[in-house]
């Protein structure tokens, strides 16, 4: 129990350190470092996000159609798909996939840099590793995950996902699909809340992955443990905070 609280305290101190370093002291934000990280964190996750989005949309359309058609309400498929993706499935699934793909990779990378003394090396070259290594990665996560969430949602709803199954295969009217969705999905109430969720998830995944990597035991075993913990803790964080956020943003409790 004491180790749990020790971890909690240390991770909050780490977060404060990270946030304090976000303010650029020298004035020049290192844009090249940031774009590099967005490339490796965001772009490298693109394939898994796109493919998953397509399949989730397809399944959603199939199940939604089967239920709706018994009430003769299959024209409302767009509403079901649109709301469930934008409000819940988009942010949550993208967050979980991102934690598995990019979060674990970040923890392993930082952990290995610790194990191979690269972080000590930076400190001894009078370079602040928090500013140099962690801040660009944290910002890259904060930027990438909301964008990936948007891409995931578009893929799930769009022509390759739910639209393909619902409209092209099962025969829902295309005009009804889009117009009902447009009428039901509110920009502020639904889309923006989804964005807020994905920002919160990005914050959590970035914090957890970097913390686990930075404090990983400098052995191969320690790095392995850091990646596992990153995925487990981020997933729990995402699912738990998602419930709280839904209750806060959409009310109903």
């Amino acid at each position: 129990m004491t180790t749990f609280f020790a971890h909690l305290g240390r991770s909050f101190l780490f977060l404060l350190q990270l946030l304090a370093a976000l303010v650029p002291t020298s004035g020049k934000l290192r844009l090249r470092l940031l774009t590099q990280q967005i490339w490796s964190v965001g772009n490298q996750s693109l394939v898994i996000i796109v493919v998953s989005g397509v399949f989730v949309g397809m399944v959603l359309a199939l199940q939604g159609y089967r239920t709706l058609v018994t009430f003769g309400a299959e024209e409302s498929l767009g509403v079901v798909v649109g709301l469930s993706i934008v409000r819940e499935l988009g942010p949550v699934l993208t967050g979980l996939l991102f934690a598995g793909r990019a979060g674990s990779a970040l923890a392993a990378e930082i952990g290995l840099m610790r194990a191979t003394e690269q972080i000590d090396g930076l400190e001894l070259m009078a370079v602040d590793p928090v500013r140099r290594l962690l801040v660009p990665r944290f910002l890259a996560v904060m930027i990438s995950l909301p964008l990936l969430t948007a891409i995931f949602s578009c893929m799930a709803i769009g022509a390759a996902g739910a639209h393909l199954i619902g409209v092209d295969l099962l025969g829902v009217d295309g005009g009804a699909y889009w117009s009902q969705m447009k009428a039901a999905v509110d920009f502020q109430g639904d889309v923006l809340n989804g964005v807020i969720k994905s920002v919160v998830f990005a914050f959590g995944v970035g914090w957890i992955a970097l913390y686990q990597g930075y404090f990983a035991a400098p052995t191969s075993e320690g790095v392995g443990r850091a990646t596992t913990r990153t995925v487990v803790t981020s997933s729990l964080f995402i699912l738990g905070s998602n419930f709280v956020l839904t209750a806060l943003l959409f009310g109903g409790l």
């Binding site: 840099m113 191979t116 003394e117 690269q118 000590d120 090396g121 930076l122 400190e123 001894l124 070259m125 009078a126 370079v127 602040d128």
Partner: protein
């Protein structure tokens, strides 16, 4: 330029409750190669970290060029570290940069020089370690010995006052060992840098050290130049220097004797 660059006085250091150092005095004289010898796990690397200010002594003082390291602020520490070069056991090169960029890294971070000047300095340093033509390789393409030489070029890029070597000879074949010994000597003499070598490779270290300390059980057991050490009366020092399997440091892990163990099971 004489006297001590680094003065360690009565340093105590604990890891958890376990004492690593209990009252250590070490002088590192300017322009000399000082060796710190000792068995594995006696905290030789810890000593380097105390000098670089990555760790703070629980008691006693570490002075670098007259400044007390443990009282420096974070920015003061970073200023101090610009005057320090450190060679890690693994080299600690940044794996995503080429050899050239690794050596250029501290220059780009701190020197404020133009790319042209940096190119010249990096080439000079790589030439000094014999790897000028390897400048476009990635660290993963280097052998262990080459990685250490690149790390040495990086450590001296900013023209430091002190270079610290952490186990530079571990796991090296005889040729790269010889190269490293020659480099440590030539870097020290040609560039007028003070060197500290931490190691347990007794013969190699004593062949270049001007002065050596043997550290064990949290204390300095013996000090002097290599002749003084070899002439030491201490059995422990003799066992350590000559690598005898048995002596004051027992071959057997301490505990009940073999006969007692058998007798306890009713076998003997």
């Amino acid at each position: 330029m004489s006297g001590n660059l680094v003065t360690v006085r009565d340093v105590h250091f604990y890891r958890g409750k376990r004492p690593i150092y209990s009252g250590v005095d070490i002088d590192i004289r300017r322009g000399k190669i000082t060796a710190i010898l000792g068995p594995s796990g006696t905290g030789k690397t810890t000593l380097l970290r105390l000098i670089s200010g990555q760790l703070k002594a629980s008691q006693g003082s570490v002075e670098f060029d007259g400044k007390n390291v443990s009282q420096l602020s974070r920015s003061g520490l970073f200023e101090l570290r610009k005057r320090l070069g450190m060679l890690f056991q693994t080299g600690a090169l940044l794996t995503d940069l080429t050899v050239f960029d690794n050596v250029a890294y501290p220059l780009r971070e701190h020197s404020g020089k133009s790319e042209k000047e940096i190119f010249k300095i990096v080439l000079d340093k790589l030439e000094a370690v014999g790897l000028r033509n390897a400048r476009d390789l990635m660290p993963s393409e280097l052998s262990g010995g080459m990685a250490r030489r690149v790390a040495l070029a990086r450590a001296i890029a900013l023209g430091p006052d002190l270079v610290m070597y952490d186990e530079p000879f571990t796991g090296q074949d005889p040729i790269s060992m010889g190269v490293l010994i020659k480099l440590i000597r030539s870097v020290n003499d040609d560039l007028g840098i003070t060197s500290v070598v931490v190691s347990h490779d007794v013969d190699e270290v004593l062949s270049i050290a001007d002065y050596a300390y043997i550290v064990a059980d949290g204390k300095v057991i013996c000090q002097g130049d290599s002749d003084t050490l070899r002439a030491s009366q201490s059995e422990w020092v003799q066992q350590f220097l000559n690598g005898k399997a048995d002596g004051p440091v027992s071959f057997h892990f301490p505990g009940p004797s073999y006969q007692d163990d058998l007798a306890a099971e009713g076998i003997a």
